[in-house]
């Protein structure tokens, strides 16, 4: 039976086990120590960003925050495997990956703060705006790669989505277009077991999400999403394959959303605390720390340095988020189209008049 090389393994690739011990693998090598150290730094920062964002929500400074607590290994690896000219297409849950790609946390959080729909310059950081309508961004990623290929550039595009999003028609169309046009896109599914309250079993009856790949004619692989070494190795290979002209592939990471869907969600309604508890032991940070401490690559000083760095990011987040941006109502009309239509100008003048009158009247609009 040929083509079965497109099928994923029966069990997820793992290079470091839950106790921090390396696992020998026939196909994937454990990343070098310095790479793992860099990844560890990313995990520490990512966790801190998640925690800080949660605090900012509680303080009313962020409108909403979909935390990637527990999924930081995926977030960090997604950023690390890309070259400078590659592009990332993230979702609402991927703020940590966005920040890891170099976007200023203050800009990354503009959406969730509520100031605007996206707050960073996609071209500078090569990060598409975080997508909310599920799976739609996967098609953008494919088209983006098609354009790069059209111009003969060797850009690789990494497109992220969740397990729930794989059920959408756009997921299917994106993988199919990518395979038919043989473009350098890596589809990375963070299977965290839930789509808000809906468990994976209500999302698919397939042996794994990675088993979908063969149906498009691309390789699929599964990886332990809480083992950053494995995610780096598997995603890294997918990126290399794409860069070498080998076409798209699908990587599924098995991970877990440790917190509620967002702060607005109440996950006690749909999952047992015991289940969440089980995943605490599989924490991606702990595992890598144990490993790096055991190998001697991580000492207390480095640990402290990383913690300080993360604390600085958190402080910057607090400063940025605790400042009310000076918002201009005319922005509502400014970017709709390149040239403002007479209709929009008329509507803006209406609003401007209201604002002027309310400022005159009361020193501020209701």
């Amino acid at each position: 039976m040929p083509h079965t090389d497109m099928l994923p393994r029966d069990t997820a690739v793992r290079l470091i086990d839950q106790d921090g011990a390396p696992v020998a693998d026939e196909s994937y090598a454990l990343p070098e120590s310095d790479v793992l150290l860099q990844a560890y730094r990313g995990l520490v920062e990512g966790r801190r960003i998640n925690d800080q964002a949660g605090a900012l929500v509680r303080q009313g400074r962020l409108a909403v925050y979909p935390s990637s607590h527990g999924q930081e290994a995926c977030q960090v690896a997604a950023s690390m495997v890309l070259g400078e000219h590659d592009w990332l297409f993230p979702t609402y849950r991927d703020s940590v990956a966005v920040i890891a790609r170099g976007v200023d946390p203050a800009d990354a959080l503009v959406l969730l703060k509520g100031d605007w729909h996206s707050g960073y310059d996609s071209r500078v950081h090569r990060v598409a705006p975080q997508a909310t309508p599920l799976a739609t961004q996967l098609l953008h990623a494919v088209g983006f790669a098609q354009a790069a290929k059209h111009r003969g550039e060797d850009t690789v595009v990494l497109a992220l989505c969740g397990d729930g999003a794989t059920s959408e028609g756009d997921f299917h169309e994106a993988l199919n277009f990518a395979a038919v046009f043989h473009v350098p896109v890596v589809f990375f599914v963070q299977n965290n077991g839930f789509a808000i309250s809906v468990p994976l079993s209500r999302q698919t009856a397939a042996p794994s999400l990675a088993h979908k790949a063969i149906g498009y004619g691309m390789p699929g692989q599964r990886v332990d999403g809480n083992d950053v070494a494995a995610v780096l190795a598997v995603l890294g290979e997918a990126v290399s394959l794409a860069r070498a002209g080998g076409g798209p592939s699908l990587v599924e990471a098995h991970t877990y959303r440790m917190q509620a869907h967002t702060n607005a969600d109440d996950d006690t309604r749909y999952r047992e605390r015991a289940e969440v508890q089980e995943w605490v032991a599989r924490d991606p940070l702990l595992r890598l720390r144990t490993h790096l401490t055991a190998t001697g690559a991580l000492d207390a000083a480095t640990e402290e340095r990383f913690a300080d760095g993360a604390e600085q990011i958190a402080a910057a987040m607090r400063t940025a988020l605790n400042t009310d941006a000076d918002l201009d109502p005319e922005d509502l009309f400014r970017f709709v189209t390149e040239t403002r239509s007479p209709q929009l100008e008329e509507q803006w003048q209406l609003l401007r008049g209201e604002i002027e009158r309310s400022e005159l009247a009361a020193g501020g609009h209701r």
């Binding site: 909403v64 729909h117 059920s167 789509a195 922005d331 709709v336 209701r366």
Partner: protein, 342 residues
């Protein structure tokens, strides 16, 4: 027009009267419908254990079982498309699409099948299904969570489109929608989910009828959904300024109650249409155009509309500039060629 209430579908329950939120009224309507009609099934994303992101389906799975209320895979065309198949096979599906913008993946199924299958089959296969969509803004939601897309549905022949503005109508209209032999797009104004009012479970509503929400003689405000309490608020302020403002809750966006609306506007000679959706080629333009055409000789001034701007819905921090408010309604009323001596 009145679409007859199918009484076998809304079997006589014990009459109950209580004050509750619109969310609770909707939940009660679903529960009562499931209880009184074995063909009713409720499904969508997160409607099971979670009870829906707005808790409208809270407790239904626990009470009636997975067979009557269940979660689906995350795919809106799938939800609506399977609902079409169920309706073809005798069920009465009531599906929830999580937010306006997330109904869009189902648009082909809605326009090409939900709206047309009954016509296609000369009434042979009717589509007694309800698509519930929490719509509109005003809750500080991020992009894609605050749209108002009623125009897409109201423009589509074959769809019935309704929106309640009170807990009573939420209950009664949803029961009527579920009992209707035709497909109904049921738009729930998110902003009003937690507003409270008295609900009498024995009160029936007739799809296709508007409701006079406030009597008045000088000007008529035509509104639906979350714009109704806004219109009432504006009417209150206007009253304090000496103007008698009538408010009509349109309720049924399609079909439209021309009789009530036309009579109302003729009685005052002035009208303002209020809706949160962008105004261009909208339900508000339709109402404005119909009123103009039907009341032309009675009008003291052009009919005005107060709507959302023709821009993508604002981010949370800017939405107060976007949303129609009392001042904007009062400003519109002011333009209606008043003889200022009166």
């Amino acid at each position: 027009m009145t679409i007859a209430h199918d009484d076998t579908r809304t079997a006589p329950e014990v009459r109950e009267v209580a004050t509750m939120s619109m969310a609770a009224a909707l939940n009660r309507a679903l529960a009562d419908a499931i209880e009184s009609d074995p063909d009713v099934v409720v499904f969508g994303e997160d409607v099971g254990a979670l009870g829906g992101v707005f808790r409208i389906t809270d407790g239904l799975t626990a009470r009636f079982g997975e067979n009557r209320c269940f979660d689906t895979p995350l795919a809106e065309a799938g939800i609506v498309g399977t609902a079409v198949g169920m309706a073809m096979n005798g069920l009465r599906p009531v599906v929830e699409l999580q937010f306006d913008a997330f109904a869009l993946p189902a648009f082909e199924q809605i326009v090409s099948h939900v709206a047309k299958l009954g016509n296609r089959t000369r009434g042979g296969l009717r589509m007694p299904l309800v698509i519930r969509i929490p719509f509109g803004g005003g809750i500080g939601g991020v992009e894609h969570h605050c749209d108002s897309s009623e125009a897409y549905y109201a423009h589509t022949p074959g769809l019935t489109v309704v929106s309640p503005s009170t807990p009573q109508d939420a209950y009664s209209l949803l029961r009527a929608a579920i009992a209707s032999p035709d497909p109904v797009i049921f738009l729930e104004p998110k902003k009003l989910y937690w507003s409270k009012g008295e609900v009498d479970t024995s009160v029936t509503a007739e799809i296709g009828t508007a409701r006079i929400a406030r009597e008045g003689t000088d000007v008529t405000l035509l509104a639906y959904g979350a714009a109704v309490p806004l219109a009432l608020e504006a009417a209150e302020v206007a009253a304090s300024e000496g103007r008698s403002v009538q408010v009509v809750d349109v309720r049924s966006l399609s079909p439209f109650d021309d009789a009530t609306v036309t009579a109302a506007v003729k009685s005052t000679g002035r009208a303002v249409v209020i809706a949160e959706a962008p105004g261009y080629a909208s339900v508000a333009s339709e109402i404005q155009a119909r009123v103009f055409e039907r009341c032309f000789e009675y009008l003291e001034a052009p009919v005005r509309r107060v709507t959302g701007f023709d821009v993508p819905y604002a981010p949370p921090k800017l939405e107060h500039w976007y949303q129609p408010d009392v001042d904007r309604v009062l400003d519109a009323i002011d333009t209606l060629h008043w003889d200022e001596d009166v």
